[in-house]
Point group: C2
Chain length 206, copies 2
């Protein structure tokens, strides 16, 4: 099994490679090198070659990488050669911005449902979606076979909603609430907390 032997830190760099390659494609480029990718990304060329070599032989010494081929390979490896339905929980400002975000679909994802617990929002439209009652979260997510969720609820509700998502069959959660979640081992969680990033930078300010 590939998944068992590739370090997660390597997996975490692949989306950056893919993003940069897709930008190059949009620029009309056909061939690139680990050097150029490295300069764009602030990652060493050797690291990029090493990461990619874990998945196969994608480039030739001296001729570099065919961008379209490597893009297709990375999309297969990351399983975004398809479109994943995503459920958004929380129809506040962040949930609204997520629901309307135009950058998902050409990169493998599509918001399919939005939930909230606020009677003022349920049944109304947010970001182009009719907001569902969170009471129906487990059943609707299960029925639709959704595996990925974005969580944009207050920290105080995040764990409780997470437990429901897991019950409904969700296996990957992108959590915008500023709190760490407890999940079973087979569930992956990623976190987006702008303050964590800001504090990592303020450390270096005079």
């Amino acid at each position: 099994m590939v998944n068992a032997i590739i370090p997660d830190i390597v997996v975490g760099r692949l989306p950056l490679y893919l993003r940069t390659l897709q930008l190059m494609l949009a620029e009309g480029r056909q061939v690139t090198s680990s050097q150029e990718l490295g300069e764009r990304l602030g990652i060493s060329a050797a690291q990029i070659r090493k990461d990619l070599s874990q998945f196969g032989e994608f480039g030739k010494q001296g001729t570099g990488y065919n961008i379209e081929f490597l893009t297709d390979q990375l999309r297969m490896i990351l399983k975004v050669d398809r479109i994943w339905d995503v459920v958004v929980v929380g129809a506040g400002d962040v949930g609204h911005a997520i629901s309307r975000y135009q950058g998902f679909s050409d990169r493998g994802f599509k918001v399919a449902m939005v939930f909230d617990n606020d009677p003022q929002k349920i049944g109304k439209e947010v970001g182009g979606f009719i907001v569902h009652d969170i009471k129906d979260l487990i059943s609707l997510v299960e029925e639709a076979g959704i595996r990925i969720a974005m969580l944009a609820v207050p920290a105080s509700h995040a764990q409780e909603v997470t437990d429901k998502l897991v019950k409904g069959g969700v296996r990957a959660i992108l959590n915008y609430a500023p709190i760490n979640l407890q999940v079973p081992k087979n569930i992956t969680v990623q976190y987006i907390d702008p303050v964590v990033h800001l504090q990592r930078m303020s450390f270096y300010l005079e």
Copy 2:
């Protein structure tokens, strides 16, 4: 100089420790341990002790950490024992959500200005701020002495705006645009791209 010797990966974990300690404080807790912190965060207790020991002696063997004291120490280390003004560039959905986000101020940051280049938005109110013309970005940021920016413009404009921010004296940029930025060595950049996180998780899905 502390900054010269602490690995950035350690710096990156400190905001997570601080966030968890602040939640514990809010729960009315007074004392914790590296074990408990580790369980909440999915980080080993040994790693947490090692990280913290780089900055001083914060706990006693057997009695654990005083949460309030360690919180104060981490706030000082991360320089969020003050409030940093932050400029937001881009008054679209993401910029709007950032401007209204309530979670900044008690963690060291405050949105101070919002900019956009859209004549439809300039002079109007977004998230409680009157949107400034991006033409005035350099001068207004310089005048206010702002050091931190959040960038929520399309990828195609991100580098150009970044160059302006740097000219205006910004030293730390949290970039929401899905593109890597080129900056001088004394500038710190952090990235938020939900798709990068989603792709890192889809890799593991069946």
